[in-house]
């Protein structure tokens, strides 16, 4: 009797598969992907300093009651150059911006900051993309709004442009 049931198992598995396919076909993908990380606490990480005189960044640093921007970037990333002026403006408005530099080296980063300006109060190094991946970030640049308790409030994928400033300020809890 048991052997009998096992023989029908492949058919049952295939039918499950077919039902899954059927449902997948009936609900076509709308290609809008909401961030999975919003509303969740920052994953535990400690990114060591990469430049002398510029401290690294760890999860504990986000729990000081002050909301801030966490910018995932790299000196080799050309679009990242484009958003530096916007990050500088946010800094001028009193926003604390911290950076995680992905796959980067100290000399290249030094040059990047000297050429484009430095909006970051702290820069942590993420040589293997581990922190980037744990944040649910797939590319550079990406920017996270983190509240004073270390919870991710918002994830911005791609270059931060001038027009994104009001939205970011609102998520940070600051009036524009």
């Amino acid at each position: 009797m048991k052997r009998r049931a096992i023989l029908w198992l492949p058919l049952a598995l295939v039918l499950t598969l077919l039902v899954t396919f059927w449902r997948g076909l009936l609900q076509p993908d709308d290609h809008v992907i909401a961030s999975q990380m919003v509303g969740k606490p920052l994953p535990e990480f400690a990114a060591p300093a990469i430049l002398p005189g510029r401290p690294g960044i760890a999860t504990a640093d986000f729990r000081d009651g002050k909301p801030r921007l966490l910018n995932v970037f790299a000196s080799w990333c050309l679009p990242c150059v484009a958003e530096v002026p916007v990050l500088m403006r946010l800094k001028a408005m009193g926003v604390d911006v911290v950076g995680v530099a992905v796959h980067d080296t100290a000399p290249a980063l030094e040059q990047f900051l000297a050429r484009n300006g430095n909006p970051y109060s702290r820069i942590g190094s993420d040589p293997q993309s581990r922190i980037q991946l744990s944040l649910g970030s797939a590319g550079v640049p990406e920017t996270f709004v983190v509240d004073g308790k270390g919870t991710i409030v918002y994830q911005h994928i791609g270059v931060v442009a001038e027009r994104d400033i009001p939205n970011l300020l609102e998520k940070l809890g600051q009036r524009p």
Binding site: R4, L17, W22, G24, L25, S75, P79, L133
Partner: protein, 638 residues
Amino acid sequence: MIAEAGLAALWLGAALALAQLVLGALALRPAQAALGRAIAPVAIVQALFVSLAFACLIAVFMRSDMSVLLVAANSHSAKPMIYKIAGTWGNHEGSMLLWVTILGLAGATIALFERKLRADTKMATLAAQAAIALGFYAFLLFASNPFARIAGVSEGQGLNPLLQDPGLAFHPPTLYAGYVGMSAAFSFAVGALLTRNVGPDFARAMRPWILGAWVLLTVGIVAGSYWAYYTLGWGGWWFWDPVENASLMPWLAATALIHSVTVLATRDGLRAWTAMLAVLAFSMSMVGTFLVRSGVLTSVHSFAVDPERGIFILALLAIYIGGALTLFALRVGTVTEGTRFDVVSREAALVANNLLLTVILVVVLAGTLWPLALEGLNGAKISVGAPYFNSAAGPLALVLMALLAAGPLLRWRSDRPGLVLRRMAPALLVAGAAFAMLVLFGGTIGVLPLLGLIVAALIGAASLAPLWKRNLARTPLFTWGMVIAHLGCAVSLAGMASDSAFTQENLAAMRPGEVQKIGPFAVIFGGLQEMPGPNYAALQGDLLVRWGSGEPFIMTPQLHQFSDPPMITNQAAIRTFWDGQLYLTIGEKEMQGRWLVRMWWKPFVTLIWLGGFMMALGGTLAMLGRVKRDLSARKAVA
């Protein structure tokens, strides 16, 4: 006129397939067995008509007949002739017609040349083949007519520029022929189950088809992997993209089937399991076609997405696979147990091979479909990426590879562990030496790549052991095939492990004149120039590369900007050395006079594809060896 002739030939082919199915069903009753004699001629004529239909479609593409909808939508009069012809199967309708054409030719080949099988099993096999063909005929005639006309169009819409590549022009037909070869194995299994004839004869009849299909799938996957490597410009050779997985899953099942069919043919064991695997291998081919064609999963491969067609393929999937598995459940109880064997024996090693391959298949299938299942359950959207596949399938594949070293050295039915160890001693010594070398000179290497390199050395030596103390001139062709295919596994594994252990990467935004280091090379960015292409505008980076103090040479990665349809593709510049490849690409955007240049130095990466082609060569030799032996046996009888 040509289009109408093609459509007529397609209808006639469909009618003959119906006749083939009905005749086969009737002839299974002893009273009407005489009808069975008509099946083979019907199968041959069906193949002729469907080939004629396919030839007509190629003709309208070659003439750029824009009054045919399919040509207008997928071709362009200014395209080079080879891409006009390749355009025939570079689209949904044409590829389905290609599928049913190869299916017809496979049926005709069985009808003409298959003599080993019992007559009733052969009839049932051809009837099953006709049933599969009928589904695809219906699909073509009712849901995707390739010969439909359109009025008032004077120029075509072009072909997806990514597909304008000589390698890729022949990539889909190779994979399709492989899938169809799996359909032959499926038909043999259905025929054998229907006529209660699951035994060595069935295994021997099915074996050349599985080997042939496996070779084509291997070539298709290896070529597709190299294509992705040089054209996507990511420096990777396997991305675990749903469409890649769709070709990998039937390959895994076919690899298992090749090994289990050997047990059935040689030792009359694993009867039910082999029939099950034949069904599974074709199921995976169909699931692959469904995933690729329905657009149910998001992939970098952009095919025309049409849910209605997806439902049609889904219905075919349900009928064939559901039907075959029902037949399996009903009939396999009547398949008596085959010959038994010991825990230490060639059969047991092959069972372990089958189990591991099946588990890897399940891992890949689960990872590919998990996003779909989860979205169906609670609407969550996830993507399953390379880390899952690498960490779940990688170690399993390594265990499989380690077993591969021992398998061919085991005796059939029963063996002694001590003797096996003695036969493996030279290979174990080689693996130990490799380990010592890597620890001393290899620098820091991750655990998996390190194990990979050691296991590669182990298989490399062990796969040659079956030739030890043998008269090489008298060694049968299929033994050579096995040795070369297994050696290919070692070569490929060495390439993969070396790529992940030793690859160096440098991403830099460079100004003209700037110098960057990568591996043993110095790269100087000379600047960019625009180069007009036949139907695209190319931006070319000029990079001067120097190895040590040697003669410098120029490498020119390009960006291709197609206007119709608008699309940018990345052509990496790759230079192959005996010990690796230098891989350079340029990025898309200019920023303050700087350009993003990506540089990789990949030691021994070419071994990945070399090993793949060795596996295919081994499979080909094994197939030829089997066919040759069958033919000479037939002569001896006559």
